[in-house]
């Protein structure tokens, strides 16, 4: 099976700081792949580079066979690759419905069945569709950010720390939604600090340390590894 997303030896800098040092990984169609690692390991930088918000100094990024390493983010979205950024980044002063419509920006008008679909997945958002997004709770904002991303009918969704700052019940809910999304055919690249939860739903995962991949394997394999347990699973 050809990889849907193929990241090959990318180097990314913030000015002079070398944040990502030769990272390579793949995501195959239908998988949930996780990048785990501590703060500052370069996980978010990798997602930003894949979605075009940042550009690698060297290396290639192929999505469905096309090099997207130097494409602008608004073009990458049209290829079917969306990024749910860290901290949700919903448009706080726009209504929930308007946020959802912005998710379908590339399609012109938001297709009704797509709206129906996200409202079925996230009934809370339907109740609150006229509210300003900034008045939602953290969990609801995360759901809105995910709903917004789904509106453009993506092939691959990248999610950056979807469980951050949420209560345990909500974390549970967000992870089960991610799992359901995969069941409905969306491929997922997940960045998480909550390694325990992420590894449990993940097909394959990569462990990042200061800009480099140090370990990789299936979710189950990594859950069993001593060094992973010690560093990320609190045991």
């Amino acid at each position: 099976m050809a990889a849907m997303l193929k990241v090959n030896d990318i180097h990314v800098y913030y000015g002079k700081i070398h944040a990502v040092k030769g990272v390579s990984f793949e995501v195959n169609e239908g998988e949930i792949v996780s990048l785990i690692g501590a703060n500052g390991a370069g996980k978010s930088t990798i997602l930003k580079t894949v979605s075009g918000l940042m550009h690698p100094k060297s290396g290639t990024i192929e999505f469905m066979g096309k090099d997207i390493a130097h494409m602008e983010p608004n073009k990458i979205v049209t290829k079917g690759l969306v990024h749910v950024p860290e901290g949700r980044r919903v448009f706080a002063h726009m209504s929930v419905m308007e946020n959802i419509e912005m998710g379908a920006y590339i399609l012109g008008k938001a297709p009704e069945e797509a709206v129906e679909d996200v409202f079925t997945r996230f009934p809370r958002l339907k109740e609150r569709r006229k509210q300003e997004a900034g008045t939602l709770s953290g969990g609801e904002q995360q759901m809105l950010a995910m709903a917004r991303a789904l509106m453009s009918k993506p092939k691959l969704i990248m999610m950056d720390e979807p469980s951050m700052g949420l209560s345990p019940i909500l974390v549970e809910q967000i992870f089960s939604i991610i799992y359901e999304l995969r069941e409905s055919g969306v491929t997922i690249l997940l960045v998480e600090q909550n390694a325990n939860k992420a590894l449990k739903i993940t097909d394959r995962a990569y462990v990042l340390e200061t800009g480099k991949i140090t370990l990789s394997g299936t979710g189950r394999e990594l859950l069993e590894k001593e060094e992973v347990k010690k560093a990320y699973l609190g045991g």
Binding site: P85, V90, F91, M94, M102, Y105, I106, G108
Partner: protein
Amino acid sequence: MSVFTTIIKQLINGLQSGSIYALVALGYSMVYGIIMLLNFAHGDVIMVGAYIAWMMMARFAANPIIALIAAVIGCTVLGVLIEKAAYKPLRQSPRISLLITAIGVSYFLENVAQLVFGANAHVIPTFIDDTPIQLGQIAIPTTALITVIVAGISMVALNVLVKKTRMGKAMRAVSEDAGAAQLMGININNTISFTFAVGSALAGIGSVLYCCAYPKATPTMGSMLGLKAFVAAVLGGIGSIPGAMAGGFAIGIAEALVSSAGLSEWKDGVVFAILIVVLLVKPTGLMGRPMTEKV
């Protein structure tokens, strides 16, 4: 004339100049909202609009509606050109560079106008039959009525544009969070150009309405008008569209009230005193959002 009719008369004057300030303030506010730039060249776009109106009517004997359309188109094109030529190359630069550039563009436009048209004022022929409309004891000048109506229609249209259209929503999204907007597939550069186009079109309408009240074009006419509109935008809360409208009317009415108290030479001073008070007491203005630095 009773005190009551004097006050009403001054209020009408205030609404007339206020609607012009509001139209100009909208351009300031929208541009600030989207790229955090105080576009000090905005006032000079109005000056160019006034010269276009003068040329159309005095040179080509065009009808006022055609002059209005020409001024709007001219200002829109100029606004977009300024953005592309002067501001776009500085997208990644510190904000102070943008601000200095805006002041530079302002002087550039004023000096080009002086070079082309000379320093003397060009009188624009009167184009509205100014027989006041009598409402009981109160006479409403036709120009005031037309100004308020045209400005009102423009603002309603702007509201519809910003609230209902895809481009308008994209504009709001970019001004809230440009990065997230890009991730939705929104083209930031097009959206910024569109914002300049809309702001400058409103300035074009403003310039013709201004010429109804003060029918002459001079190279520096835009600077005071622009500054007062800037005060209006700050008073309303810079970045806020309803704020710019409210601020514009408030400044217009404040000026008129000062004049009606017999202190018309204090008019400009009062406007800038308002700016100082707003900056001291409530820097975010009446409807502005609290400033948060984006990280």
